[in-house]
Subunit: 232 residues, 2 copies
C-alpha cells in the first residue's frame, strides 16, 4: 500500500445517502420497541409486519428491511415460519450487558466531573421533580426520569465513542431498568443512590462519582442475577 | 403487538448465511490494516483496490464491497476521485477512544479477578518472555506481546458484551499502542505498570486491578494528548 499525502476528512458524501423509507421504518420500529416493557412479561413479543406497515403507512418491503437491520443489531430476532420477535436477552446476558454499561457510564461520570457546568449538574436533580410530585402513574414517571438521568450522565461525559457504544444497548437497558424498578426493593434504593451520585458530581470528585455510578449499575446486575426481571 | 409464547432462541439460520467472497475480502483487508503501523506516519495510507484484488486472487467487486463495509465501521474512508484510505482518527478522537477502552478493560480486569484461574493469571507474565529475551526487533516483539496482554485481560473477563464493544476499536487500539511504544518515555513505564497489574490480578483485588488497568490506559490517553503519535 502506498503512503501519500492526501486530505484526511474528505469523506465521500454519496456514502452517507441511505434509502429513506427503510431508515424511517427502522427508527419507528426501534422507538416502538423502546416504549415496550418487554422484560416485565415472560411472553415473547411478536412484531407483526402487516400491522407495522399499516401503522407507518408504508409497504412491507421497508418494514422487512428495517427488521433485518434490527436483527443484525440484536434487537429483534427472526424465527423460522413465525416472523420477527423482540429479542429478549437471557438473565446471564442481561447481567453481562449491565456490567459493560456500568463501566462506560462510570467513565462518563468521571469525565462529567471535569466537563459539565454547575448548572448542568444541578439540573440532574430537577429530572425527578415531576416524579416526586406525581400522584397517579408515579412509577412510570419515575422510570422515565430514571432513564433520562442515566442518559444525561452519558451526555455530560461528552465522549462520542462512549455514546456510540452505549447506543446499541440503550433500548435493552431502558426495558431492564423499567422492569427492575417495578420490583419495590429496587426503587427505594435507586432514589437514595441518585442523590449520592449528584452530590459527588457537584463536588467534582471523579473517583467517587465513578465508583458510585459503577456500584449503582452493578447493584442492578446483582438484583437481576438474584431475582430476574419478569413477574410472570 | 401481540404477546405470544414462542421459542426464544430459534434464530432463522438463513439469516446467518453471508456472501462468502466479500467476507473473505473483509477479513483479509481488516487483518492487513491491523498489521499496519498507521499512526506512526503522518501520511495517509491508500488501499489500492486492484492491488488487493491481485493479492487475494479475487475480482474487484468483493474488494469494493468489503471496503464499503469497513467504511461503515469507520476503519477506512472513501475519498472522492481518490479511492479508499485507512481512516486515521484525530488526536481528540484517539483520546476519546482510549478513555472508552480504559473503562471496558478495567471492568474486564475486575471480572478476571473472580473468573480467571491462577494458571491463566500466571501465564500473563509469560507473554513478555520472548520480548525480554529478544536481541533484534525487540520493540516489535514487545509491541505484539503488549497487545496480546491487553486482549488476554479482556478474554479473562469473560464478558461477551465487552468483547463485542471492544472488537470495533481493536485495530485502532493496536496501532495506537504500537505507535506510542515507539516513543521511549512510554515503553519503560508500560513495562512496570504491567507487573503491577498482574500482581493485583493474582491477589484477586478487583478494585486495585480495575484502577491500575484504567490508569494504565488513561496514561496512554494523557501521553497522546501531550505528544501525539506520529513522529513525522
Amino acid at each position: 500500500m502506498k503512503a501519500t499525502r492526501s486530505p484526511r476528512r474528505m469523506v465521500d458524501q454519496k456514502q452517507a445517502v441511505q434509502p429513506t423509507l427503510r431508515n424511517f421504518a427502522y427508527e419507528a420500529i426501534r422507538n416502538t420497541i423502546a416504549q415496550m416493557d418487554f422484560y416485565s412479561t415472560p411472553d415473547a413479543i411478536r412484531l407483526d409486519e402487516r400491522e407495522l406497515a399499516e401503522q407507518l403507512g408504508v409497504s412491507r418491503t421497508p418494514i422487512r428491511e428495517a427488521l433485518c437491520v434490527l436483527a443484525r443489531e440484536g434487537l429483534v430476532q427472526s424465527v423460522a415460519r413465525s416472523g420477527f420477535f423482540v429479542m429478549k436477552k437471557s438473565r446471564d446476558e442481561i447481567v453481562e450487558m449491565i456490567c459493560a454499561w456500568a463501566s462506560l457510564e462510570s467513565m462518563a461520570a468521571r469525565l462529567a466531573t471535569e466537563r459539565a457546568t454547575d448548572e448542568e449538574l444541578s439540573s440532574l436533580k430537577g429530572l425527578f421533580e415531576d416524579a416526586d410530585n406525581a400522584d397517579e402513574g408515579a412509577d412510570e414517571v419515575y422510570s422515565d426520569a430514571n432513564f433520562r438521568f442515566h442518559q444525561e450522565i452519558l451526555r455530560l461525559g461528552g465522549n462520542t465513542i462512549i455514546d456510540g457504544l452505549t447506543s446499541g444497548l440503550l433500548v435493552h437497558m431502558k426495558a431492564i431498568r423499567r422492569a427492575a424498578l417495578k420490583q419495590e426493593l429496587r426503587a427505594e434504593r435507586s432514589r437514595s443512590e441518585h442523590s449520592e451520585i449528584i452530590h459527588a458530581l457537584k463536588a467534582r470528585d471523579a473517583d467517587l462519582a465513578g465508583v458510585l455510578v459503577r456500584n449503582h449499575a452493578l447493584g442492578l446486575a446483582t438484583h437481576v442475577r438474584e431475582h430476574g426481571l419478569s413477574r410472570g
